[in-house]
Symmetry: C2
Subunit: 338 residues, 2 copies
DNA sequence: CTGAAAGCGCTAACAG
DNA sequence: CTGTTAGCGCTTTCAG
């Protein structure tokens, strides 16, 4: 394996000169630079980023802590899209990504700070963190630049990107209200997810503004899972048959609700309107196709990486990016005829 | 940032001893070990893997070159599933993953070897490589341990994992033959993909064994894209209306074929049977649901990582792993009535 | 059982 | 414009 030392020897110069030439410093004569460049190519030289990172104390590497990189999460492509977005941006700005092992319990014993420091990543992006995650406190206390996806922390070196979840939820519920629904239930994710709280806020506010008082009993949690969504919907609809519409905090759960409704013999959208959230791929293929709130997950990842790198390179203070959402009307919602 | 030097100072021992204690060597007195361990915890020590990697010449890191980490590939979750599988296994065996930037053209200028050597990865996993990819030759020549997914190279330090594509294709075509079809066309991916070639082999062999001579004109390429699949299917069916069944080398293309058939007014499966390949999520949701060949993509990734790590740790020679496939009959195939 | 010393490959003052 | 020197944090002979 060629090192700068080898090049130096071959060129008859010092390693310093080689280093400077290779890194494009101006204070090297054109002649030596050329000689060194050629030699480097000839000897098939690749710089050792470990050595460089060791002395420079940075690695051009971003650490990724993504929660959903597992078999179960293939159904919505949310994790994948976030990853794609991050990858695209990192690629453009010439950073590499390291995927941390946070799956195994063994690894989970390592703290966030340990993970990042061991690998000497320049910064980190975290997705899928819950409000009770022990990493959370660490992120705030740590001096490692970090961007959170869908979790609202901001500090000296922590920024975050998210979508306007409250407004998104309002759009969904307003759509139902405009269709004449008044008995609108909500299947939420879980109380530990920031987005759940915001979507609930939007739900509540939309009802309020329409002069509809909301019922606590009509709000249930489906843990963002399809099956749980189905079960909760069935329970809900059996107990309160007067419900004519359900707002679901995720498409996956909405898919479950669709199934639940079918089991109960309630036709969607004739007897029940359903609005989802996310606009996952399946939303367009379900039966009926799902009306939902679309968010650009790819962009979420892209912006997260962009923000982090800007922070790392000192061109930007940590801050917050909020992306928009869009109501996509398909066939799971209809006028209320009751 | 605490280093072993700090610990050494605090403990009143040499750095050597600290290093040995921390790494579980036996030749350290229980007393000193304990003292050092406590100090390490107290001072919040994390080892610097860069420094360690530099001297040990390995990094407990696997480099990933995956082709489909981009916006377009979200529709089949193949890339994602591979990634999940790799991640799961790496997690269990305590390796970290680095995602290389192979998207941008800038980065593409770096050779495979450069990429791996710069980051000093212990080995690499490559997915989605084409037969004309310049990386291919490098992989063979390089001394970096590598596992290829779905590409059949084997050498001193190159292994690969794949599924039995030929047999899979045969299962698909045999299914059609058993349903009474004789005029079976094939929409393949592209000639640069190894799996395409194998699936074609399976197609040909199945026909041959059934005593059906195959027609070259009935084999077209849809580049593994939905839209192209649709276009090709339309052209094919218009020109050769006698075709009663199509075997598609991917589900995504099969989805396109379904659409194409609809545009031509040919009902699936009554007027046309379609078999896909992959069993992607959407296959179960299309209209009609797709009969297809299921392969366990997650397992493909998992086994790739497992094989590589075993190779790295010297417990296994590089070799080949071939996974099975399964015919999944849904509603896009039916008896031929002509 | 422990320490001194060398060195992994690279960059960065500093001095010429 | 170039070289000398030191050192990043760690592991590893080699001697005690």
């Amino acid at each position: 394996m060629t090192t700068i030392k080898d090049i130096a020897k071959a060129a008859g110069v010092s390693v310093t000169t080689v280093s400077r030439a290779l890194n494009g410093y101006s204070d090297v004569s054109e002649k030596t630079r050329l000689k060194i460049m050629n030699l480097a190519k000839e000897l098939n030289y690749s710089p050792n980023t470990l050595a460089r990172g060791l002395v420079m104390n940075k690695s051009k590497t971003i650490g990724l802590l993504v929660s959903g990189l597992n078999r179960e999460s293939a159904k919505d492509q949310i994790t994948f899209s976030v990853l794609s977005g991050i990858n695209e941006c990192a690629s453009e700005l010439d950073y590499d990504l390291v995927l941390f092992n946070t799956n195994s319990t063994k690894q989970r014993e390592k703290t966030y700070t340990q993970l990042c420091r061991e690998r000497r990543v320049d910064g980190a992006i975290i997705q899928g963190i819950k409000t009770d995650d022990p990493y959370l406190q660490e992120v705030v206390n740590s001096d490692i630049p970090c961007v959170l996806i869908d979790y609202p922390i901001q500090s000296e070196n922590v920024g975050h990107v998210t979508t306007d979840n409250k407004l998104g939820a309002k759009k969904a519920v307003n759509h139902l209200i405009e269709l004449g629904h008044r008995n609108i239930a909500m299947v939420n994710g879980h109380s530990k997810a920031f987005v759940s709280n915001m979507r609930f806020e939007g739900y509540r506010e939309a009802l309020q503004e329409a002069g509809i008082s909301y019922k606590k009993e009509w709000i249930v949690n489906g843990r963002f899972e399809e099956e749980a969504g189905k079960l909760q919907a069935i329970k809900l609809l059996e107990k309160y048959p007067e419900i004519t519409a359900i707002f679901s905090a995720s498409d996956l759960m909405a898919l479950g609700i669709l199934e639940g409704a079918k089991e109960l013999g309630r036709k969607v959208p004739e007897d029940l309107s359903v609005v989802g959230y996310d606009d996952i791929l399946l939303a367009g293929y379900s039966n009926p196709p799902l009306t939902t709130i679309s968010q650009n997950i790819f962009q979420l990842g892209y912006q997260a990486a962009n923000l982090l790198i800007k922070m790392l390179e000192g061109t930007l203070e940590p801050h917050v990016i909020t992306l928009g959402t869009k109501l996509v009307v398909r066939e799971s919602t209809a006028k209320n005829h009751k």
